[in-house]
Structures are given as structure tokens and as C-alpha cells.
Amino acid sequence: MNFSVTEPSVRTKWFAGITVVLYGLITIIPLLWIIATGFKTSEDAISYPPKVVFKPTLEGYVNLFTTRTRVNQDELEDLPPPETWYEQLVRDRGQVIASPSRYGERFLNSLIIGFGSTALCMVLGTAAAYAFSRFRLPLKDDLLFFILSTRMMPPIAVAIPIFLMFKNLGLSDTHLGMIMLYTAVNLSLSVWLLKGFIDEIPVEYEEAALIDGYTRFQAFYKVVLPQAATGIASTAIFCLIFAWNEYAFAVLLTSGNAQTAPPFIPTIIGVGGKDWPAVAAGATLFLVPVMVFTVLLRKHLLRGITFGAVRK
């Protein structure tokens, strides 16, 4: 028998391979289902047994971005011929487009609030984490514990005080209010994560930069920040995912003006029957920004680029 400590056996490899593939399938099937449903007709979407092979249509996407009214055959024939493919698509189903839906607006709100709070969280989080990592502060450990303790219960547990506070401060249903709220919730996580990353950067680099003629602040952004890029990127992804997907506060605190996409998507169900393809289309598009953001930052997530230049 040959044994090797570095090379796993064939059986182990097969076992590992099958496990990974199974896990991958289980994770990705619901996602694929949602994406597929977005391209089905309403009938196909709820047919039983479920249709795996179907004729794709953009009906769901058209419905997502429009509000429509049903008209009878005579009225339909009186109308001028449709100018666009999507008008045609709607008329084929005995409807006309009444107005654009508010999905675009809600999506934009999600972008502003999600990326706004993530950016703010990174600026404040990096600054705080640097201070906690590098300076001798009074009550440092207590402060860090206090920051962490803000996450020891679900944020929604304080929904009522926050609701009242926002009402009194005029922050209800504003972008600024939601950015501040998500930043406050995420900040403890980002301070802790970033402190860990900055702790790993040896202080010798900054001392070397100070010696090389830079001020402490210049040393921070020329030497510490580039090396903390990995940590900042992964922390930013965590923060964005939370802010992007947050539902409960969004339902509670936003309505006409600053409503984000998550509370909007379920309202589609109520308009003109259960329009599952439109809901699925809304959910699919909603996935895109986080995926793009993650892919863009992926190269910063690869560790190891900073290893080995300081010998301990």
C-alpha cells in the first residue's frame, strides 16, 4: 500500500467531489428556479407538474416595470397600432399599459441607500478600527465590547424606539435616515472585522513610512489602506448584503419616498392577480448589483498578496 500525506486517496476525492457538487446544486436550484420563473408566462409559472422546459417570454419583466389596465376587445381594436414590442405583448393579453411602475424608482432607492450606507460604514469603520488597533485608548476593551453588544439582539428589537425617533427627527421615509440606520447597524460588524485586518498589518510599515518622510495620515492612506484592501473589500460586501436585503426596517420606516426594493417586490403580487413571473423578475434583477459588486471586488478578496514582506 502506498500512503501519501499530501495527496488524498481516490475514494476521498470522489467523496469530496460529489459532496461539493450536491451542495452546489442544492444552493443554486432555488436561484435558477427564480431566474427561470421570471421568463415564464403566469400560467407556466404555477402549472403542476412544474415545467422545466418552457417557451421563454419577457412578460414578467414587462409587467414588473408597468402598471396595466384590462380593456375589452372593441376598445382594443379602436386603439392605434402598438408602437413597441412590449405594448404588443401587453395587448396580446387584452391589456394596455397605464403607466410605468415604481420598480425603477425603488431599485434606485436601494442603490442609493445600500451603497451610501456601505461607503459611510467603510469610512467610519476604517477610521475607528485603525484607532482601536494602533492607539492606546482609555477603556479600549470596554468600548469594543460595547460596540459589539449593539449586535447582541436583532436590530428589529429596537424597531419601536427607532420608529418614534425617526418620526420626531423627520427622518422617516428619507434616504438619509435609512443610510444612517443601516450604517449604525453595520458599523459594529465593520469595526470588528476591520480591526482584525488592521491588527495583522505590522506597525513597522507605518514606522518605515514615518521615517521615509511621511506624516501619520499619509502613512495611513499610502501604506495601511492598500494593505487593508482585502479586509475593506470583504467587509464592504458584508455591509452591502445586509443593507441591500434588509426588509423589516424598510417596511416600517419607508413608504412613498425612500422605499427600497425589498418591501416593494411583494406588493406586485397584489396588483392584477398573483403575478409570479413579475415577482421573480424583480427578484432576479435585484440580485444583479450585489453580484456585480462581489465580482468586481473579487480580486481583492484573494489573500496572500501582502504576505512575506515582513519577517517576524
Binding site: 518605515a208 514615518l210 511621511y214 519577517r311
Partner: protein, 332 residues
């Protein structure tokens, strides 16, 4: 370049008194090596001169200008750290150019190019200039690290055991390079090491530190041949100086408690009987471990000696050092 004066510098970390009223002058253009065991205050002295630590009390002067409270940038010092501390996100070229691009120097690009190439040539790292700093061997990293100091023209170069993490061959090469660079430029250099060969070969002055105080400063030969105490005598010389009771060969001067014997102070073939307790053949020399009246001493003998363990030989002292009870030198 500048003359550095430390006046009565004290510095503590919590309960640890790292520097305790240190007084020292580093003359302009000298190569001063600080010697002392771990915890003697060598690195703290460097960091205090650099401005990375501000002393609890005392004053630092560069050319008689007090420097307390000034940042490292304002003092214009260059330092090589024991750890390589290259900026890992920059190329070798950008690492070398980093000090020149600082707001302190704001060097024009063509001058940067010239200086970087010049230093890279000096340290034989030209072919690595476009590598990432992390894609270098340990020796190359440390040369870049030294290069980052050499591109500048600072008041003083500070080096904290820059060669300690390198292999023996490279250490020998860089020792010679550093010494020649320093004497060519007439640079003031303050250098910390544990390695007495570095101290003996490079220094114009050796400063011996003990518990945060300077106990002796002088040329390497002076420290070796004329130590003021057992402590400084033990810093230089291999094998280490033997410390035995002063009267072990009979007549000792008054007040002398201890006698210090370097190998060259031990004459073989006459005097007191002792037993050979061990023989270490090092190739170019052979070390004899001897037992005399229950005291162990180590000396050097002919490389091809015919002596064996257990044999008895006669030795005597020739012009040894005498020290009093507290370890201070006595001149009889």
C-alpha cells in the same frame, strides 16, 4: 550629515526602564556600533534618535539643535529595521523611490530614476527593480531595505540589526559593502548589533550599553584592549574572556577580586597545573577547555595540538586584567 548628541535620556515602557540617563555623542561621519545584551536599550536608543519614541526626559541634539518633539520626517533620519518592512503592495522600484517621493523631499522624477538606479546598482538588485517586493529572497529584501535608506541624504543613518536575519555569506558581503558605502559618503551611522564581528570590522566607535546607560565608548580596539569593567570586557572577544578569582596564580594586586583572562593572556608551559577537560577543533584554531582549581576556563591553542582530554598542562597569566568586587577595572 550631523553630529548626534544624547543628553541624559531616560525612557520607560510601563515598569521597564529602557533608557536610564543615557549620555552619548555620535561624531559627524562616524560609524558607531551599539553593543549590549537584549534589554540593554540599544533599539530604544535608535528609536529615540529616530523620533519614533519620545523620551520621558533628556534632550537629543542634531548638530546642537534640540530635536525633541520633532517627527522623524522633520529630523530627516533614515532607518533600516531588523524586519525587512518593504511595502508589499509596491514594486522594488517604488519601494526605493518611496522616500524620495515623500512630501519632505518631493524629488523630480528624473532625479528619482537616477538615484534609484544608482542605489540598485550599488546593492546589485537592478535586475529585480520591477519585481513585487514580496517576490524577493530574504537577502534581496534586506538589500532593498538598506537601499531605501541609501537613496536619501539624511542627517543620520540608523540601522537596527540589519544583517541578523541573513545567511552567513550574505552577511559577510553586506558588512563590507555597508562599511565602504559609509566611508565613501562620510555618513554618520548609528548601528545596533549583537554580532561582535560586525562591531569589530565596521565600527569607528563601539558604545557599550548596560541597563539603559552608556558604560564605555571608544574604538573597537580600545574596548577590546582596555575595558573599564567585566561587563564591557565580556562584550568582545571569542572565546569570551575568562573571569576567575584574582589570586588563582598567586600574587594579585590589592583590592582585586577578579581576574580577566583573554586567550592571549594565558601562557602555556609554565605556572600552575590544570587539567584539559575538553577540546574543540574549529579548523583554523582549537579551543582548550581547562579546569584550574575548580574553575573552568577556555583558551585557544595550536590547531594541530597533540593534547588529549584528561592530560595536565601548566599555564600562567601574562598581563591580565584585574577587577574589583563590583566588576570595575583596577589598574595596578
Amino acid at each position: 550629515m550631523a553630529e548626534i548628541t544624547l543628553e541624559n535620556i531616560s525612557h520607560s515602557f510601563g515598569n521597564v526602564q529602557a533608557l536610564n540617563g543615557l549620555n552619548m555623542t555620535v561624531p559627524d561621519g562616524s560609524f558607531v556600533v551599539l553593543l549590549g545584551p537584549t534589554g540593554a536599550g540599544k533599539t530604544t536608543t535608535l528609536r529615540t534618535v529616530a523620533g519614533l519614541e519620545s523620551p520621558d526626559s533628556g534632550t537629543i541634539y542634531f548638530d546642537r539643535e534640540p530635536m525633541n518633539g520633532l517627527t522623524p520626517a522633520q529630523r530627516n533620519v533614515a532607518m533600516v529595521f531588523q524586519q525587512f518592512s518593504l511595502y508589499p503592495h509596491l514594486s522594488v522600484r517604488d519601494n526605493l523611490a518611496f522616500p524620495l517621493k515623500s512630501p519632505l523631499l518631493k524629488t523630480p522624477p528624473d532625479v528619482i530614476e537616477k538615484k534609484v538606479n544608482e542605489v540598485a546598482g550599488l546593492l546589485q538588485i537592478e535586475h529585480k527593480l520591477n519585481n513585487r517586493a514580496t517576490a524577493l529572497s530574504g537577502g534581496e529584501m534586506q538589500r532593498v531595505s538598506i537601499g531605501r535608506a541609501l537613496v536619501r541624504n539624511p542627517s543620520v543613518y540608523l540601522m537596527d540589526e540589519p544583517l541578523s536575519s541573513l545567511d552567513a555569506k550574505l552577511r559577510t558581503d553586506l558588512r563590507i559593502e555597508l562599511k565602504s558605502i559609509q566611508s565613501e559618503r562620510g555618513a554618520t551611522l548609528l548601528y545596533v548589533t549583537h554580532d561582535q564581528i560586525e562591531a569589530m570590522t565596521m565600527a569607528t566607535h563601539v558604545g557599550v550599553l548596560d541597563e539603559g546607560k552608556l558604560v564605555q565608548i571608544g574604538s573597537p580596539r580600545e574596548i577590546y584592549e582596555n575595558p573599564v569593567s567585566i561587563y564591557t570586557a565580556s562584550r568582545l572577544g571569542q572565546p569570551r574572556i575568562n573571569i576567575v578569582p584574582a589570586d588563582i596564580f598567586g600574587n594579585a594586586p590589592q583590592n582585586a577580586t577578579w581576574m580577566g583572562l583573554r586567550p592571549e593572556h594565558i601562557v602555556q608551559g609554565e605556572g600552575t597545573e590544570c587539567t584539559v577537560s575538553g577540546i574543540q577543533r574549529l579548523g583554523d584554531q582549537t579551543r582548550l577547555h581547562l579546569k584550574i582549581h575548580d574553575h573552568d576556563i577556555v583558551t585557544v591553542t595550536d590547531a594541530h595540538t597533540a593534547l588529549n582530554t584528561g592530560e595536565t598542562i601548566l599555564i600562567n597569566a601574562d598581563n591580565p586584567y584585574f577587577f574589583d568586587k563590583s566588576g570595575d577595572r583596577i589598574h595596578p
